[in-house]
Amino acid sequence: MAVTREDVLKWIRAYAEVLAENMEYLTELDAQIGDADHGANMNRGFRTVLQKLPDNEDKDIGTIMKVVGMALLSKVGGAGGPLYSTIFIQAGKTIDGVLEFELEDWAKALEAATTGVINLGKASLGDKTMVDALIPAVEALKEASQQGLSLGEGLALSAKAAEDGMIATIPLVARKGRASYLGERSAGHQDPGATSTFMLLDTAAKVWANDC
């Protein structure tokens, strides 16, 4: 019960579609406490990713992820660009050179990705950023893999944890990113980056679960 290269490609393509569908929603969230571009930024990045995929479909999973990361770095811009780029590049480095991976590998990959995001953005849990979706998701994956749960179960738990983390950003006062400029006024709004991160992990759970 492993995630194959084809699964990874399917995941990226499915996520691109989710972003296209939710572009306005993410923008709307960003308009509340940011600058109304998160949806467009992510969508622009993944349009480019889709263009890069055909030439790289025969590469190993790590390479594919790094290609995605580099495309995002040169197309997204803003805070989201380097951060999402880091997620893919760090995850790709962790599961480099393989054509499939297990739950345990994914837990490590997402942990490396999260560490990368934290090193870059200096955000902690509770700062109302994508980190609030990432950390609980990593914890859930690690626990699931320690408990020997199935890939499908583990992914579902991590998606659920990311969702809870995303929802938990609502009452928070932002301390990092553009929302922090609003001070107290940032409370009461869901963080757009945490939302797109939940969507990323939720898409993984849905796409990869179907296959195994």
């Binding site: 600058d35 953005g121 932002a174």
Partner: protein, 333 residues
């Protein structure tokens, strides 16, 4: 959405085409990655000054490329910081052998992308220094947050540091000068209307006909507080007081007073604000020795104003007065 544009996705590209067509004597424009460099770049032996940020703040930054100001500007998507590859190429294009200074407005995205670009440029053997601008007193500063935004002071810094670079000062001197300017300049802004980001198609925030936002940034983001519209004189005081108190600016100080339009506010209103600002400063014994009045760091068509105060000294005055020849700011040349 009432805009003179074709497709939202094409706005920045078509703007760059317009700049390219309009100012071949001043700049060269490169595409994919997008950046604008002065026509005679790289200037041998001169430190290259590079800035950049989201588009929608015109004339900043592209309009400030040219003799006596920026060597290159990297335009991102509207209100979205540009990407490291743009900054890297721009840095390479303007490196005249004396290193390159990045002037970075303090936004998470700008800072991260410029940092990555600097790392890549250094790996290519280019000496790079970066100075982060964070002059917006509307934002409470703290170790635990992203800190203050970079706003109006950016324009003044680009002019002054650009003039100093033209004089042949070293990368380290220029970085120190930029940090000094950042240390003694403060800004605050307000909006009467939101703006419409082209790909969004509707106002970023809704502001009732009788309300205004105080403490807005330059990306159409909401401000710190919303209140009923007040007369220009009260608004001016509301912006100026926190600026003066923050540094603080004190009796006897000589300052440059910059009254900026966010885009939609016409010059006639800026002069009304300027008049009141001078009156308030004079009452505190602060002397306005230089000024800048107009739309220089904008948020698309947003109506509103920002005020920036920079404490001046003989060196800064001399550098401010030095010739500058860009599309957006020009004198003495």
């Amino acid at each position: 959405m009432k805009k003179l544009i074709n497709k939202p996705e094409e706005v920045v590209n078509e703007e760059l085409k317009g700049i390219e067509a309009a100012h071949p004597d001043l700049v060269k424009v490169y595409y994919d990655p997008d950046y604008i460099v002065r026509a005679d770049a790289p200037v041998k032996g001169k430190v290259g000054i590079v800035s950049g940020g989201g588009s929608g703040h015109e004339p900043m930054h592209g309009g400030f490329v040219g003799m006596g100001m920026l060597d290159a500007a990297c335009p991102g998507a509207v209100f979205t910081s540009p990407t490291p590859d743009q900054m890297l190429e721009a840095t390479k294009a303007v490196d005249g052998g004396a290193g390159v200074l990045h002037l970075v407005k303090n936004y998470t995205g700008d800072v991260m992308n410029f940092e990555m670009a600097a790392d890549l440029a250094k790996a290519d053997g280019i000496e790079v220094e970066a100075v982060v601008i964070d002059d917006d007193v509307a934002v409470k500063d703290s170790l635990w947050t992203a800190g203050r935004r970079g706003v109006g002071l950016t324009v003044l810094m680009e002019k002054i540091v650009g003039a100093a670079a033209e004089e042949g000062r070293s990368l380290q001197e220029l970085a120190n000068l930029a940090r000094k300017i950042n240390g003694q300049g403060r800004s605050m802004g307000m909006a009467l209307t939101s703006c419409v980001v082209p790909h969004v198609g509707k106002p970023t925030f809704d502001l009732p006909e009788d309300e205004m936002e105080i403490g807005i940034g330059i990306h159409g983001e909401p401000g710190r507080t919303r209140m009923k519209i007040k007369p220009a004189d009260e608004v001016t005081e509301m912006l100026l007081t926190p600026i003066v108190e923050d540094l603080p600016f004190e009796s006897g100080d000589e300052v440059l007073l910059f009254v900026n339009s966010m885009g939609g506010t016409p010059l006639i209103e800026l002069y009304i604000v300027y008049r009141k600002a001078v009156e308030l400063l004079e009452a505190k014994g602060i002397k306005v020795v230089r000024n800048l009045i107009g739309p220089y760091i904008t948020s698309l068509e947003m109506a509103g104003t920002s005020i920036t105060l920079l404490k001046m000294d003989d060196d800064l005055i001399k550098l401010w007065d030095a010739p500058v020849k860009t599309a957006g700011l020009r004198w003495g040349a």
